[in-house]
Symmetry: C2
Subunit: 306 residues, 2 copies
């Protein structure tokens, strides 16, 4: 089964960096990622600039893109207004995100999960009716493996959201470990149950953070249980090895390294991606968490006969 690596560094990564990048730097990051072979890029989010200053130039980022055929430049939105802006920016794909717990969604998105979902249904209809070309709409269920306020999240509750999203016609469903507390058995189980609930009709993906070092274990468990989309951010942007509250995404190049070693083709040029990670580290001005960017891929020295 073909897998899809979705680069979210320009969005989720940068959103959690203190350093404010210029629009030009963001564009350079995106263009470098595409050069390295990434085909799915979440380029920005269309949210209120007061809430997320790092994404204030989302429209300018999309205007400045040197688009390439076959590359999907996606934008994230949390409400109907965001979707409107995303459509105006001519995104190729719209990503929606919903917290599965009442406390998290209210804190993060100012409304209940149910009301938010109803707004997403309206937004989905808006996109479907917008005419000119088909733009896939995906939905991410955040805090699906644990909520910072409520703790454990019932699996059945998440599966029910997945079932409803599939029924509503979303093109892809992503389970997010927003705060990095998932374990691989949990991830494997929830991916499997989500696939069962949707009878394999909708691609299931995962969005993982490496906060407690389980990121790649969780990605592996997701893969072996049928997930096909994997969010990741180059270098693990958004996290720093010494900042206790930094919760970087899994590093794209570490994921690519692991997948390729396992025999899973990614289409990414690992050496080129490592170069992008090292460049990104300089731009944000602090060490990133990716490990393959430090250790390098496996290159034997050649047999030595002492």
């Amino acid at each position: 089964m073909a897998i899809k690596i979705q680069e979210v560094g320009p969005r989720d990564g940068l959103q959690n960096e203190r350093t404010l990048l210029s629009t030009e730097q963001k564009l350079e990051l995106i263009h470098r990622l595409v050069e390295a072979g990434l085909r799915f890029i979440e380029a920005a989010s269309f949210v209120r600039p007061e809430a997320v200053p790092q994404m204030a130039d989302a429209d300018a980022v999309f205007r400045g893109l040197r688009r390439r055929d076959g590359i999907v430049y996606a934008g994230l939105a949390l409400n109907r207004r965001g979707v409107e802006r995303a459509l105006q920016a001519d995104v190729d794909e719209i990503h929606l995100s919903l917290g599965v717990t009442e406390s998290f969604n209210r804190t993060n998105q100012g409304t209940s999960p149910e009301d938010n979902f109803q707004a997403f249904l309206a937004a989905l209809a808006d996109v479907r009716g917008s005419g000119d070309r088909r733009r896939p709409v995906t939905i991410t269920f955040s805090v699906a493996f644990g909520c910072p306020f409520e703790g454990a999240v019932d699996e059945g509750r998440v599966v029910e959201w997945v079932r409803r999203a599939a029924e509503a016609g979303f093109d892809e469903i992503i389970l997010a470990d927003t705060i990095g507390v998932a374990d691989p058995r949990h991830v494997g189980r929830l991916v499997r149950r989500s696939r069962e609930a949707t009878e394999g009709r909708v691609p299931i993906g995962v969005h993982l953070h490496n906060t407690r070092n389980t990121g790649l274990a969780n990605a592996y468990a997701a893969l072996e249980n049928g997930a096909t989309t994997f969010d990741a951010s180059v270098g693990g942007l958004g996290g720093c090895p010494f900042a206790p509250n930094a919760t970087g995404n899994i590093a794209t190049e570490d994921l690519v390294y692991m997948f390729e070693r396992m025999g899973v083709a990614t289409g990414v040029d690992l050496d080129a991606l490592i170069d992008v990670a090292r460049w990104a580290e300089k731009i944000v001005g602090h060490p990133l968490e990716g490990m393959v960017m430090k250790a390098g891929p496996f290159r034997p020295l050649g047999a030595r006969r002492p």
Copy 2:
């Protein structure tokens, strides 16, 4: 199935640290680890002090131990002379290690794998004949997943070593990813094949390094395929997030965190172990790679109703 976590920080961890710890510091580390609930400690290696200055005081470490009932204090040896010293030091368990490739074993241990194995068979007989009490003897096959000189290592070749070791009567067999290049499918496969080759009669374990971020993914794959022993070092001792050539073991507290979240009992007090990791970081004087020691375990804030 009960699993066993074997703390190798005082041996493999410290051996790869530049900071030379005093015997007292090493003893304090070991005693703190036991306090935190670790029951299996690889406390030192009996190797030539010229080759590994960090282990020059192995005999003194064993003399200084405040031993506790039920705790296994093990010592590593690479040849028959080392085993003799380990017996004199009254270790509870003897660990032997053999590189499965010609180049690696010659470089690391100055002899061919075959000659080394023959010496180990003699050492095994020495231990069995030493009388007073039964001391288990385990064997680790290093570079089992990849060799820095020869690159890929044939799986059948490793399985054949495992079969021979089981036949010879070793009490436990550990597959080591010495240079951190294993991927989880490889680990799962080799553990499964090793169990088949030994018909489940000898416990199979893994010794993993997190050099390229795949450490916990590999541990998870090993577990799901029947491995029961897991080497790890507190804080990921032996590695530093910024040193490209540092190849720390997987961090014990990260492994304990993942296992406990998965429902696998470890018997370790995670909070106490995190304290030991933070203490160890101060002692060695540089940041360690463990992540749970920075992020902390998962502690929900309690439901918030904004």
